[in-house]
Symmetry: C2
Subunit: 329 residues, 2 copies
Amino acid sequence: MARKSEDYVVGVDLGGTKILAGIVARDGKILARVKAKTEVEAGYRRIISTLAASVNRAVTESKIPRAHIRAVGVGVPGPVDPETGVVKVAPNLRWKNVPVKKLLEKSLALPVLVENDVNAGTVGEHRFGAGVGVKNLVGIFVGTGIGGGLIINGSLYHGFSKAAGEVGHMIIDVNGPRCGCGNKGCLEALASRSAIVRKLAAAVRKGSKTALTAIVSDKNMRQVGSSVIADAFLGGDKLTVKVVKRAARYCGIGVASILNLLNPEMVVLGGGVVQAFGSEYVRLVANAARKRTFDVTFRGVRIVPALLGDDAVLLGAASLAREKYERRE
Amino acid sequence: MARKSEDYVVGVDLGGTKILAGIVARDGKILARVKAKTEVEAGYRRIISTLAASVNRAVTESKIPRAHIRAVGVGVPGPVDPETGVVKVAPNLRWKNVPVKKLLEKSLALPVLVENDVNAGTVGEHRFGAGVGVKNLVGIFVGTGIGGGLIINGSLYHGFSKAAGEVGHMIIDVNGPRCGCGNKGCLEALASRSAIVRKLAAAVRKGSKTALTAIVSDKNMRQVGSSVIADAFLGGDKLTVKVVKRAARYCGIGVASILNLLNPEMVVLGGGVVQAFGSEYVRLVANAARKRTFDVTFRGVRIVPALLGDDAVLLGAASLAREKYERRE
């Protein structure tokens, strides 16, 4: 058996557009990093085979002897049964019931752990990022949608049917806009990037002036990236400032509900929107949450930006794989 | 040391109008039960002394030798630090920073555990009531206000500043009515008995006919009990049916947010409103929650009425005291 200091794991972030694989040391250092394209059109077998090849390439590039690689952790964009490693559904990959663990273990001859990407990202921030040492933590990732993960008593909390953490579908405005899930007034329908773009586009249609007019009135407004909106926001574009502030306020109301229910020590805000808008956004969220919580619930709670950016999922998946397969020996 | 089968604990429910004390056997059987009036006007020392006297009377009545009584658990209506046993604030008792544990231990010469009453009630239902054997459970108690308690991985979850479980202050209608806490659209402002009475009174003022007209138009409408409203509801009074259904729907929306965030195995609904309206109310809540959750989150989740009625707090407090003081030996 390798010495503990010679133990490495592979972390993989399997996204709808790219696969990111890295060799992760015990201290969270990433030794080699491989990127590949996710060929959604080609079907799940191709994606799994590209993923396995990326892992192998990362091992080779890292120059770590394969005998020192203990396990592989994969974060996937959809609900997973972490015991069986079956991905129940992943719309971005057009997957249904794909046995990722079984397929990868056969191909790589290494133990594989599969976890939902938002859960993995939350674990990443908890083990190596903003939340190191925190006992109870909620991760909220704001992008096209809004996802979340819960660390309770130091461990990832899955819930009864492994579906915990759907922060984006907490209802905060029962008469609010329709959400993609079919309900009304979910946090995701009010505070995601999609919600921001929708609001901007509606204002433009009504004749509002904005630096983003050309972009958001385009047919492809769903493609508007966070950084484009953030530039307009940080540049002081009036409409954008108003719309983003409103979205941040809604996010803060969602955070308030979470604080009142769970009273965690920390809320970590990550994802494309938070990365693009920076600390000003986090401040707006914290402010809206403070106004809607009890003093005792809010005092000492840290609402902070995620620190790991695009590495959070990879690092969290690696960390979960290490914890699971070290325990078993 | 007493044999395990000879171990007893005392459970106390300290409420704003009455004190209920009982001797509790290992299996949750209550051997003797003593009731006393809470003399709020007389100050905290009098209340503590009445409480201690009630405990002593219950011990005497039970005929259990005092040497077999291991500890006392007390549920109080306000936030508590369960380590120090100091009640931070209890509006119904007009208390602020009362060191209940210290005062009672001196008076009774027994170890005392103090817990928030809603938390204790949730533990009671988990140990001896609706939720026996359930790993993750949320207790929601609907009365004048709405409180909650969380069982996570089989244990009462307190959160960072021991303030977790404020289900009543989750925000579900950001533009909704003002809540007692100062915010808008909290669950408590939409679904508590107070909210139901307020809605009935407003409709009566506008000329709606109801079996409750005389009662709710009275100055003392805050005093309208759940059973009076339940009689009108179960008797088919049109306005009451409409208003109660609306409140139950809001409660279900709050439950949906909780299910989406925490994905527990069970939600136990208790408190005066639920007791009075019975299973029809629980069915309405479950139905509203089902419509607003993912299939995977809702499937298999049990939304059930509390089983212990007025004994839940007493039994939960007793159970917590037993667990704490057995472990220490």
